[in-house]
Symmetry: D2
Subunit: 379 residues, 4 copies
């Protein structure tokens, strides 16, 4: 589990993720945790001056502290000491344009979720990635948790038999206050002009939705959705329920909400197969509950002997020490580093453009289904 590789850290560029950005900080911690990346260039803020100042504080050399992503692209494009990875952590509506531009210029890219705003963009971006021969990863960061990887491995190894039902949730209550009607930080999320076809599903539920596919290795065939806007004046949904059919026969049930007061970051998944069941929750990520059919439930601890190699490799500390999202997220960066070092554009454990495209299609289909009385939509 050591982070020693003998290689130099990969030069890394960051677009977005300014001083007040939670996700920017999370990316920097994740990229740095295993010493596989060195933050080398950045266009961190919509305000060029603020972005350059912050970049400098972060230790980026002044000439690579850019005011805009276009400047960054221009400045980095032809360097001999070029970037090995560019992360795009800007507002959702800009993902497509920026990711496309860097991909086209030959940079491997990690883009925040949602990958794009529309299916058409997602298709275009995937095509561009294929054409470029560069890695395009999407930051479904919860997939880096060791016990999520254990669950995935258990499904792949057949420990649960054929999967029948998967129940996933991502519910929080941080958009529940009616007094926030005019809170700019929240309001844009429910404005179709800025957020697209979906709010809470595209923003939060998408993690749960992606995880169903990640753990089962199945893709969505069709779905039915119910969207609700619980707060007056909201045009997009703040609560949604989905039923899904998967390629391998699994049935999905997904609930997501932003008005679930008392839920913090309620990402959880339960997987039920012919031979057993699993349950895991992001808020207590170091335990995976496994019930073999007809037997007592067992608590699998992160770091325990006997876990599958993917789970073991994703741990940093000995059993019993709490690990959290920073390590999970760092696992994605490590997977990316491994892929870059190996010249691979299709590392098996990493969410890629195909996943980003599938999620875009699912969100769009869900919005159409919800608008049409829950009619089943085929993806």
């Amino acid at each position: 589990m050591s982070n020693a590789t003998g290689r130099k850290p990969i030069r890394w560029g960051l677009v977005g993720g300014g001083r007040d950005s939670q996700i920017g900080e999370a990316h920097r911690i994740a990229a740095r945790l295993d010493n596989r990346f060195a933050l080398t260039a950045g266009a961190l803020d919509i305000d060029p001056q603020r972005g350059r100042a912050f970049a400098t504080e972060l230790g980026i050399a002044p000439e690579r502290a850019y005011g805009t992503w276009r400047d960054m692209l221009a400045g980095e494009r032809d360097r001999t000491d070029g970037l090995g990875l560019v992360t795009v952590a800007t507002p959702n509506a800009t993902h497509f344009e920026i990711a496309a531009a860097f991909l086209e210029a030959g940079f491997p890219v990690l883009v925040e979720k949602p990958m794009t705003m529309t299916v058409a963009e997602a298709e275009a971006l995937q095509a561009m990635a294929q054409k470029s021969g560069r890695l395009l990863a999407v930051n479904f960061g919860y997939t880096g948790y060791p016990l999520v990887r254990q669950a995935r491995a258990m499904v792949q190894e057949g420990d649960l038999g054929a999967i029948r039902v998967v129940v996933a949730e991502f519910a929080h209550g941080f958009h529940a206050d009616a007094a926030d009607a005019d809170n700019a930080r929240i309001r844009w999320r429910y404005d179709p002009a800025q957020a697209g076809a979906s709010a809470v599903l595209a923003d939060a539920g998408i993690h749960a939705l992606h995880m169903i596919g990640y753990v089962t290795d199945q893709t969505i065939r069709r779905l039915s959705a119910d969207f609700r806007s619980c707060l007056a004046g909201r045009l997009l949904e703040d609560d949604a329920l989905l039923a899904l059919d998967y390629s391998g026969g699994a049935v999905g049930r997904l609930w997501t909400s932003a008005v679930a007061v008392g839920q913090m970051h309620g990402l959880s998944i339960r997987i039920f197969g012919e031979k057993g069941g699993l349950r895991w929750a992001q808020e207590q990520p170091n335990q995976l509950y496994w019930t073999p059919l007809g037997a007592a439930t067992r608590i699998l601890e992160r770091g325990a002997p006997g876990l599958y190699p993917d789970a073991a490799a994703a741990s940093r500390l000995a059993i019993g020490h709490a690990e959290g999202l920073p390590v999970a997220f760092a696992n994605l960066y490590r997977d990316i580093a491994d892929a870059i070092d190996a010249g691979s554009t299709a590392p098996p454990d990493l969410p890629l453009a195909a996943a980003g495209l599938e999620m875009a299609r699912a969100v769009e289909a869900a919005a159409r289904s919800a608008a049409d009385g829950g009619r089943w939509m085929t993806l």
Copy 2:
């Protein structure tokens, strides 16, 4: 909280609930726990001889230990020391006929859920109860938990503001074994000829569905359902997902399953309103989690000072002592005894024919919706 009333126990008759019946034992414990009922007559088994023998062992006088419910009806009908309550705990398909017969003969009746097999029967039974002027209660036993009553009182008192979303589950994994395909104890439940239009929703999910209405005091306006039969050869659903609209504006999300390996008796409810959220789970019934909007979650303990009177009255023991379903169930019997003593046919906290009818309509509507691609059905 004392069980002293100074009244003689009400003479109680039981139909069904033979030696191997879990639910019969549960009824006897519940009826006896507060000394408000004395088991006086019974027709306990489909096998008359076995039923009479068991009744005698239970202390029923031989002349009131009947071989069939018809014999019981005939024998009890004109006694001067007649029964004050008859409980019907027979197979579901017989509920209507037996409950109707005893109601017609003037006996108050408690019938196991589901109240009837069809909506038509439910309507007829409700009409009969109204005409008879006798109490007709339905055993949604989980409503007797003190903290369920606390939740109901909190909603009624406005502690949560208008209710936006309610998420309820009742999931278990005891019908998940493909090897049970020929297990007679399980198979009939998935046979439309014996079980009617629905399996897991009518049998298990109905408790969660009822609880949404019980806690919010709202009725179902319309619903959409997805039914799945995960095991080969099953005609009825063993997994279902429902979206619902309620009379007071609440949105319901309900998942129920019989193939959820690792879930034991996973009845839980989460209620999200304008001013806060609540969550409660039957497997840990002595705590209710309350999150006021914008504040830390609080753990309300059964028996704690400050709970609403309905919750306080439903407790038997001091705070911190685990109470379970036997006490919850006994609360229904105590409510019935209070109603009978008071001559009331509409005690406010007790599930009555109206609830039984609403559930019948909901189950039927759900089956139709599921058969029609999840089309929304108005009740």
Copy 3:
């Protein structure tokens, strides 16, 4: 698991347990739950008139509703329809005298814990019980929990190998408020004149201490104690820590407190042996956590297949339905009924005079040890 026996309920007398007594209500529920006892006589209150009135309300015939326990003894002593069991649930200081009197008169007795105030009394009472040939049980009611019996059976069957360490707690916070200094309901507990040599250990910790012996089937050889009075003016301890040596080589660690704000009824036990560990907590009594050496922790559910017969027999409801203290407590009454019916004075699962005496010795030794700087005391 049915409660049918074909026998008439045993006539039961209750001393103490008046209208406001929690423990009286708990005894009545427990005795009634399986229909093995019929409350037939009682002297329920220190106020004779109040006691008789309450007894009548409970359905006791007026001539057997006594004003004092002496009247009850006199009245019941020579009846041909005599009592089959007398429960003593009076203030602790009166246990000895009352239990002794009824035992001497030939009645089987269940006495609340602590059995007596002193070791001398405990020895005398045990001797009296032996001489009388009557059952003398002590109400360590938590031993009736199905999963406590599972733990005991697992130890007996060797599933854990030799027991090394047992860690037990009984901590609550209900005597933590300095404002209660003059609260009569609390103050007497810390007054040596009324409470004897120990407060929280004798009152609460004793349950945890007894449970160590019950589960391991070992007796205390020696102990060391630290007693603290955290509230000004208290003469007896409201917080105690004990180290213990047991007859079979187990080491005990016990913490008990009445000032642990936030602990409700924190009775828990953890048992660590050569081959595995167990943990159980009274506030979540339907799960037992078992970790075989070198393997994942397993959650044993009450009612699950595969539990030992003692655990299975102590359950009333199917797996997943919460059961609580009323059922646990009823198991003691059922064990007593079985013993009485069988003419046994030494049923294996029931806490008897020997346990009451051992606890008296332990409490006394702990008080002496605490007064002597924690010196180890041999029992």
Copy 4:
């Protein structure tokens, strides 16, 4: 919460922490997480060649990849681009010598716990630190958890009133297997020649012991201990119980064990004061349970609004995202960096030589107490 400072990372040297060392990896992650340190020099392994090779893989320049700590001291002592911090993560018995040497040479030092093997060494080291005017921190890494800092702040702010009782544990079961008698990785820990006066207390329990003082800001006045060696052939304790008196009047209860099968990394603390109680457990570190006297328990979430500044500053991610030990540990490194940058040798939140010395004294006193029948020892 951003990790931007505009300063260059501090040059950091590591002694110990070779390829298979869990703790070495943990230090590197912690030091790197906020980009405040750059690993610049190291003597990582008892095997010089292996150590140099690993150092190179970690990106240390070959000329600063040393074979021994003495070489490192010699090589680093007079550099102009000298180290700003040296971490000592070697076997316990070498801490004193190495830390002393680097301190004396003018380097700030972070030493793994236990700081030294003996009280005499601890006193000498503290004196040396004072004389050198350099920072000497001790790695009680669990003190970096945000909610531990919240607990500390709540005590300091008086939210709990005067502290009465603190109950702490650190129990695991990883030395419970009798088959490990000859396992070299475990055996040395119980050998006085290598481990000193104490095994599980000095190794694991010390974290719980330190945390009592950290959270309450009180020091140990006296203690009584019971040590047990549960496995045949062990000379040092693998299970211990301590009672303690603190400078501010708090009473401590501490249990630690290495034979507690089923406990993973069971570090927990419960603090009971006049005005309320707190509980926190390392295995679920993102929640702190607070019970104000007479009120319902509240769940304080890491990252929630309203936490004290120290707790808020110690978080990296938004509420609801699990954080674990890597972040906690990184907080110590960040505190060290802040202190170094500020020229402070006494940052208030950081465990320093005084804490290391107090722990050494406590462990030694506990061993003497245990050897003397639990006699109370004054520190």
